[in-house]
C-alpha cells in the first residue's frame, strides 16, 4: 500500500514537470513572434522590450528561461503583467478563485443530484418512453454550447420574463460575496449554476445509466435477485453503489477541470469575476503572463486533485488497495 502511494506520488511529480514544460513550450517556444513581444504586450516601447528580455532571460538558452519562469510563477510569485501596468499576476488569481469555486460547487451539487436521479430512473425503466425521453434530454444537454445557453438564460430571466413573478427575483448580472450577503450570493448564482450544470447532467446521467444496465448482467446482481431482494433495493443498494466508482472518478476530474478554468465561458456570459473571466480579459488585451499563469496553476490544480482522488481510492477501495 505504501509502495503504491509512493509510486502514485512519483507519477504525479513527473506529470507536473511534464505539464510545466508543455505550457512553457506552448507560450515561449511556439515558432512565430518573438516571446519578448508576447510578454510585453501590444505596442511596447523598446525600453520595455529590453527590460523584459533581461528579466526573463530570453537572450539565454531555453532551459534557463524555463527555470526563470518557474521561479517567477511558483517561488517568488512576482510575475507581472505588462499589459496591465505591472499588476502582479498570482495575487490576482487568488482573489478571483473564490468566485470560481462558488460557481463550480453549486453547479456540482445540482448535476450530481439530478444526474443520479435521471440515470437511476432511466436504468430502472429501461426501454420505456421515460427512459428514452430522459436520455434524449441528456443528449440535448450535451449538445448545447454553454455560452449560448447562458445568453438565452439571460434573455429570459433578465429581459423578456424579468417582470413576471417567475423571474422578478433574479438580480442583475454580477457576483455577491458569500461572506457579505449569503442570500444575495445564492440568488446571483442560481441561474449560472443551472446553466453550467446542464452539460454535466447530460454526460453523467448517460454514463450512469449505461453502467447500471451493464451491471445488471453481473453475478452479484443475479445473486441478489436470487436472494429475493426487491428490484429497487438491488438497483440502489447493489447496482448504484458499484456504479458510483466510475461516477466518482469522473466527478473528481471534471470538478478539478472546472475549478481550473473550464467554467470560463459561463463566467464570461454571466459577468462573474472568477479565474475564467480573468483569463478572458487577458485574452482581449493579449496579456500573456496572466494567461500562462492561469493555465499553469489550473493544470497543477487538476493534477494534484486527481492525485488526491487516487490516494483516497487507495484508502477506501480494497480492490485497488491490494491490486498493486
Amino acid at each position: 500500500m505504501l509502495m503504491a502511494a509512493l509510486r502514485r506520488l512519483g507519477q504525479t511529480v513527473f506529470v507536473l514537470f511534464g505539464i510545466s514544460a508543455l505550457v512553457f513550450t506552448v507560450f515561449f517556444a511556439t515558432p512565430g513572434a518573438d516571446p519578448t513581444a508576447r510578454i510585453a504586450g501590444k505596442n511596447a516601447s523598446p525600453q520595455t522590450m529590453q527590460k523584459v528580455r533581461q528579466e526573463y532571460g530570453f537572450d539565454r538558452p531555453l532551459p534557463v528561461q524555463y527555470a526563470i519562469m518557474m521561479k517567477k510563477l511558483f517561488i517568488t510569485q512576482d510575475l507581472a503583467s505588462y499589459a496591465d501596468r505591472g499588476e502582479l499576476v498570482v495575487p490576482e488569481i487568488t482573489r478571483a478563485a473564490p468566485v470560481t469555486v462558488s460557481l463550480v460547487c453549486g453547479a456540482a451539487v445540482i448535476w450530481v443530484v439530478l444526474s443520479i436521479a435521471m440515470g437511476t430512473l432511466a436504468a430502472a425503466l429501461k426501454g420505456s418512453w421515460i427512459d428514452r425521453t430522459l436520455m434524449m434530454l441528456g443528449l440535448i444537454g450535451i449538445s448545447i454550447p454553454v455560452f449560448w445557453l447562458g445568453q438565452v438564460a439571460n434573455l429570459i430571466t433578465q429581459n423578456r420574463y424579468h417582470d413576471t413573478w417567475l423571474f422578478s427575483w433574479v438580480p442583475a448580472l454580477g457576483y455577491v460575496p458569500l461572506t457579505q450577503n449569503p442570500w444575495g450570493w445564492f440568488k446571483a448564482l442560481v441561474i449560472p449554476w443551472v446553466v453550467l450544470a446542464v452539460l454535466f447532467i447530460g454526460v453523467y446521467s448517460r454514463v450512469l445509466r449505461a453502467d447500471l444496465v451493464a451491471l445488471s448482467g453481473e453475478d452479484f446482481i443475479r445473486t441478489a435477485r436470487a436472494k429475493g431482494l426487491s428490484p429497487a433495493r438491488i438497483l440502489i443498494r447493489h447496482g448504484l453503489r458499484t456504479a458510483m466508482v466510475t461516477f466518482v472518478s469522473l466527478f473528481g476530474m471534471d470538478f478539478a477541470q472546472l475549478v481550473g478554468g473550464g467554467a470560463l465561458l459561463t463566467e464570461v456570459v454571466f459577468g462573474l469575476p472568477g479565474v475564467g473571466r480573468l483569463t478572458y480579459q487577458a485574452l482581449t488585451n493579449l496579456d500573456l503572463p496572466l494567461i500562462m499563469a492561469t493555465v499553469m496553476y489550473s493544470a497543477v490544480f487538476v493534477v494534484l486533485a486527481n492525485a488526491a482522488v487516487d490516494m483516497i481510492y487507495l484508502l477506501l477501495d480494497p480492490r485497488v488497495r491490494d491490486a498493486r
Binding site: 505550457v23 506552448v26 507560450f27 449538445s143 454550447p145 478554468g261 473550464g262 470560463l264
Partner: protein, 339 residues
C-alpha cells in the same frame, strides 16, 4: 463433381461486418434522420453564395447600415429607430421572414440568414477536418503505443496523460492566443493567423488523448488475438501486421469515434470563435455569429439564437449518429467523454 453455380454461392455467403452494420443502421430511424439533417445543413452551407445572390440579394460581408430593403412591397430601413418612447438610437431590422433579411440584420446591417450559411461552411469545414486530422494522429499514437508496448507505450501514454491534465479549452485557448497575432512560422512555411488551418490543427491536437486512449486499448487487445499471433509466427513483418491485421480492425473504432470527435470539435470551434480567437473577421463561423449577437441579445435575440440552434442541431445529430454507429458496429470501448 461440378463446380457450384456462381450465383447461389454468392447468396449463401454470409454478409460482412460492414454490410451487417449498414443493415442495422438502416433500421435506426433516428440515426438516419440525423444523417439527413447533417447532409441538409452541409448542402445548405455549400450553397451559401447562391442564397446570398439569388434569394437574399445582398453581400453579407459588407456593412450596410444606410441601406433599405423592400419587404412585401413596403420599403424599410435596415437600421430602424428603437421601440422606446423617445425613439432614441437605432436597432437593426428584426426577422422579416421574407427572402431578404429573413432572420433580420446584425449590428452592421448584414443579412443574418446569409451569414448563418457562410458561417456554417467554416464551422462544418473546421470541425470535419479537425476530426479527421485528430483521428489520423490518434490512430498513429494509439497503434504505436498499443502495438509496440514497452518503452514506446510508456512514453506515449505519459505524454497523453500530460495533455489530458490541461483543461481542454484552456489548452486550445493557449495555443490560439500565441498564434492569433502573428500566425505560425515553421521554417519556410508560414500559416497566417486568419488561415483556417490554425483552428483545425489546434482543435485536432487537443482532442488527440480522447481518441488515442480507446484506440490504444483496442490495439492492445488485438495484439494478443490469435490471428495476429499466427501472423507473427509465420514471420510476417510488423508493418504488414499493422497494415493488414490491426488497422482494418481498428477502423470500426475510428468510425464510431468520428462523429463524436467532430461534435466536440464543433463545440470547441464555436467556443474559440466566440472568444474571438478562432475564425477571424471578416470570415464568419457560428461562434463568431453568436458573439456578434451578444450585444443585441435583448433587442434582436435572433442574431445569436439562430447560430446556436444550428450548432445544437449539428452536435445532436452527430451524437445520435455516433450512438447509432456504435450500436451497429458493436464497439464497446469507444466510450467518449465530453468536456
Amino acid at each position: 463433381m461440378t463446380d457450384p453455380a456462381p450465383s447461389p454461392a454468392q447468396d449463401t455467403k454470409p454478409p460482412g461486418p460492414w454490410r451487417m452494420a449498414l443493415r442495422s443502421l438502416r433500421h435506426n430511424r433516428s440515426a438516419l434522420f440525423s444523417f439527413a439533417v447533417l447532409v441538409f445543413l452541409a448542402v445548405a452551407s455549400v450553397l451559401a453564395p447562391y442564397y446570398a445572390r439569388y434569394v437574399a440579394h445582398t453581400d453579407p460581408f459588407v456593412s450596410n447600415v444606410a441601406g433599405s430593403i423592400t419587404v412585401g412591397g413596403q420599403e424599410m430601413d435596415i437600421m430602424q429607430p428603437n421601440d422606446n418612447p423617445l425613439h432614441l438610437g437605432l436597432s437593426p431590422i428584426g426577422p422579416t421572414w421574407h427572402g431578404s433579411y429573413m432572420l433580420g440584420a446584425d449590428s452592421q446591417g448584414r443579412d443574418v440568414a446569409a451569414r448563418l450559411l457562410y458561417g456554417g461552411r467554416n464551422s462544418l469545414l473546421i470541425s470535419f477536418c479537425s476530426a479527421v486530422l485528430c483521428l489520423v494522429m490518434a490512430a498513429a499514437v494509439g497503434i504505436a503505443a498499443g502495438f509496440c508496448g514497452g518503452i514506446v507505450d510508456t512514453i506515449l501514454s505519459r505524454m497523453m496523460d500530460i495533455m489530458w491534465s490541461v483543461p481542454v479549452y484552456l489548452f486550445a485557448i493557449s495555443l490560439s492566443i500565441v498564434t492569433v497575432s502573428d500566425g505560425l512560422h515553421l521554417g519556410p512555411f508560414v500559416i497566417e493567423s486568419d488561415n483556417l488551418l490554425l483552428p483545425i490543427c489546434i482543435i485536432a491536437l487537443v482532442y488527440i488523448p480522447y481518441a488515442a486512449r480507446p484506440i490504444r486499448g483496442r490495439v492492445m487487445a488485438l495484439r494478443e488475438a490469435e490471428f495476429v499471433m499466427a501472423a507473427r509466427c509465420l514471420g510476417v513483418p510488423r508493418w504488414r501486421i499493422v497494415l493488414q491485421d490491426i488497422l482494418p480492425n481498428v477502423t470500426s473504432t475510428l468510425v464510431v469515434l468520428g462523429p463524436l470527435i467532430m461534435a466536440m470539435s464543433l463545440l470547441a470551434e464555436s467556443a474559440l470563435s466566440f472568444l474571438s480567437i478562432g475564425v477571424q473577421a471578416p470570415a464568419a463561423s457560428w461562434g463568431t455569429l453568436i458573439q456578434d449577437g451578444e450585444g443585441l441579445i435583448y433587442t434582436r435575440p435572433m442574431v445569436a439564437i439562430a447560430p446556436g440552434l444550428a450548432i445544437i442541431a449539428v452536435v445532436l445529430a452527430l451524437n445520435i449518429l455516433g450512438d447509432g454507429l456504435r450500436d451497429a458496429l458493436d464497439v464497446r470501448d469507444a466510450s467518449h467523454r465530453e468536456q
